[in-house]
């Protein structure tokens, strides 16, 4: 399977990655190779195998429903580019 330049651009856009035009061919080739590997793996018969959701063979530990976090707004907002009235300010986005 081989990806086109447009598909590479689309994937980059979805992940909000800025890529250099001159690198697109190399990305297309690398990503295509990865997909080929997946196709090859896909040929293995896995009918009897339960899909693996996580490489660690363990179950999720659950947490009791008790509030232990304290308000650290000042601390967190000290690294934010812009805040006002307790809010984080970001460039305007419209629905």
């Amino acid at each position: 399977m081989s990806l086109t330049a447009d598909e590479v651009k689309k994937i980059a856009h979805l992940a909000r990655l800025g890529i250099d035009e001159t690198d697109i061919d190399a990305y297309a080739s690398d990503l295509s190779n990865m997909l080929d590997l997946m196709t090859q793996m896909g040929e293995t018969n896995t009918d009897e195998i339960q899909p693996m959701a996580h490489p660690m063979d363990q179950m999720q530990r659950l947490r009791p429903d008790v509030v232990t976090e304290k308000n650290q707004r000042e601390h967190f907002q000290s690294i934010a580019p812009q805040t006002e009235a307790g809010l984080y300010l970001v460039p305007k986005v419209l629905d």
């Binding site: 979805l14 999720q60 947490r63 907002q77 809010l87 984080y88």
Partner: protein, 476 residues
């Protein structure tokens, strides 16, 4: 051409946990912005989500209540999209292996029962809130809500009218409150709904193209939004156009739906299993615990009220519409020992009427079940008449006194002493010879005059039935 409407609903119910789904920050509503958004909720580097056991328990509870398949093994996934109120750039949700699988719920529509399929229900995290006004052209972000546990309940496209959709939504609303897994507060956004709406020529098998109506926050608006969207789609098709699959917003002010600017690739979420979270196992022990905790469900309670208290369908439905109201009714019935009819009437008519008038929730009632029961006892033993009882009820509402204290203080006790009534009757007869003559000559209507005079003379405290009987005897 005749058209058929097809509707499926996605309901988001915030789980009533104390903490977030993946962090130990508080979920309490109304706090100062960002004071309940911790490092996990902000998506800071290096943090790990840890799943809240209560959120899992609540989801399982819902699953059992709709007789769904509850998964043995459930997986969380990342749903990727970019929006400033979603700090990580993905929402932790579930794609494959949701906690709750196929279930169902029965609704009543025009006296008929209809079964609505529930496709699935899965856990996910809520996003923060964007405030678009007043920040010099910037958007303000409050992440207190980010990470609040949501149960997304997805129905089958089984509903055929806006009315059915509302009935289903109400039923789910009633159920989650019964189960005490969601407070159901729609104003605060604890219970929200998206509707998938399409139309097709009647008789056609395949579905038409659907539009998704987003975030409708009241029962009234769900009905209106669906109706107006159905109208739009039919007009569009009949004038030669085609419906496009898109997300639309309902504008309540203008009663219309509007296309949201469709962000390209908007629906390419690239789900994949979240490597930060291990699979969740729903153990037999948890199932057993939840099962033991399951309250009597609304439909079962309604049926029981009809059988045990001889209520008609409507009264039973009213009295079981919330767990608190049903409990209130049963306390009144038990404490007063009065007939089911008297209790049903007083709770469903007088008491609920007063609550509605004062715009209060049952939890805020100034008259508790015990005090109302005290009043009903005095109606049942003829201490006061039904009419006087209404007056006592008003006083109950406005004071902390018991019914007995009010009756005593205001001297409202009904005169059941026949000697006292007899004396009044004798006097009235003696004072009104002309009317007596008329009555005896066959003018039956004058009888009402005598009853009125006696009641007036007794200041309304004579027992009307007794007065009638005695007057009849005296005027022979």
């Amino acid at each position: 051409m005749e058209w058929e409407t097809v509707i499926g609903l996605e309901i988001h119910a915030q789980m009533a946990t104390k903490t977030k789904i993946f962090s130990a920050a508080s979920t309490a509503y109304g706090a100062e912005p960002n004071t309940q958004a911790c490092a996990v909720d902000l998506g800071l580097p290096g943090v790990l989500p840890v799943l809240n056991q209560e959120a899992v328990r609540m989801a399982v509870k819902f699953g059992m209540a709709i007789e769904a398949e509850v998964a043995d093994y459930s997986v969380f996934a990342r749903k990727n999209y970019f929006y400033p109120d979603l700090p990580k750039g993905y929402q932790i949700s579930q794609m494959e292996l949701p906690i709750v699988g196929i279930g169902h719920l029965d609704i009543e529509i025009d006296g008929e029962t209809k079964r609505i399929g529930v496709t699935r229900a899965h856990l996910e995290e809520d996003a923060g809130k964007s405030l678009h006004e007043d920040f010099h052209g910037l958007t303000g972000i409050d992440l207190n809500r980010a990470g609040t546990p949501l149960l997304e309940i997805v129905s089958e496209p089984d509903m055929r009218s806006a009315k059915e959709a509302v009935a289903y939504m109400r039923k789910i609303h009633e159920l989650v409150r019964y189960l005490e897994i969601c407070d159901g507060n729609m104003q605060e956004g604890s219970f929200r709904c998206d509707a998938n709406v399409s139309v097709r020529p009647k008789g056609q098998q395949e579905y038409g193209t659907r539009a998704e109506l987003k975030n409708i926050n009241s029962f009234k608006f769900v009905e209106k939004a669906i109706n107006i969207e159905v109208e739009r789609q039919i007009d569009l098709i009949e004038s030669g156009g085609t419906v496009v699959q898109e997300t639309r917003l309902y504008d309540a002010d203008n009663n219309e739906t509007r296309s949201m600017r469709s962000k390209e690739e908007a629906n390419d979420y690239r789900y994949f299993p979240d490597p930060d979270l291990l699979p969740v196992e729903i153990t037999d022990q948890l199932r057993a615990q939840v099962k033991a905790d399951l309250p009597e469900l609304p439909s079962v309670k309604k049926q029981r009220f009809m059988e045990q208290y001889g209520q008609d369908k409507e009264t039973a439905a009213t009295l079981t519409s919330s767990r608190q109201l049903a409990d209130f009714y049963e306390t009144v019935a038990k404490e007063s020992g009065c007939t089911a009819k008297l209790c049903s009437n007083w709770v469903s008519v007088n008491f609920l009427g007063a609550l509605n008038k004062a715009n209060l929730e049952i939890a805020e009632t100034p008259v508790n079940a015990e005090r109302l029961a005290g009043l009903l006892k005095r109606i049942a033993d003829n201490t006061i008449s039904g009419k006087t009882a209404k007056q006592v009820f008003d006083s109950l509402w406005e004071s902390d006194l018991t019914a007995d204290e009010i009756i005593e203080q205001q001297g409202l006790k009904q005169i059941t002493d026949s000697g006292a009534i007899e004396a009044i009757i004798d006097k009235i007869i003696a004072d009104n010879p002309a009317q007596v003559k008329q009555y005896l000559s066959g003018k039956d209507k004058v009888f009402g005059f005598f009853v009125g005079q006696v009641m007036k003379a007794s200041q309304g405290k004579a027992n009307p039935a007794e007065v009638n009987k005695m007057l009849k005897d005296k005027l022979k």
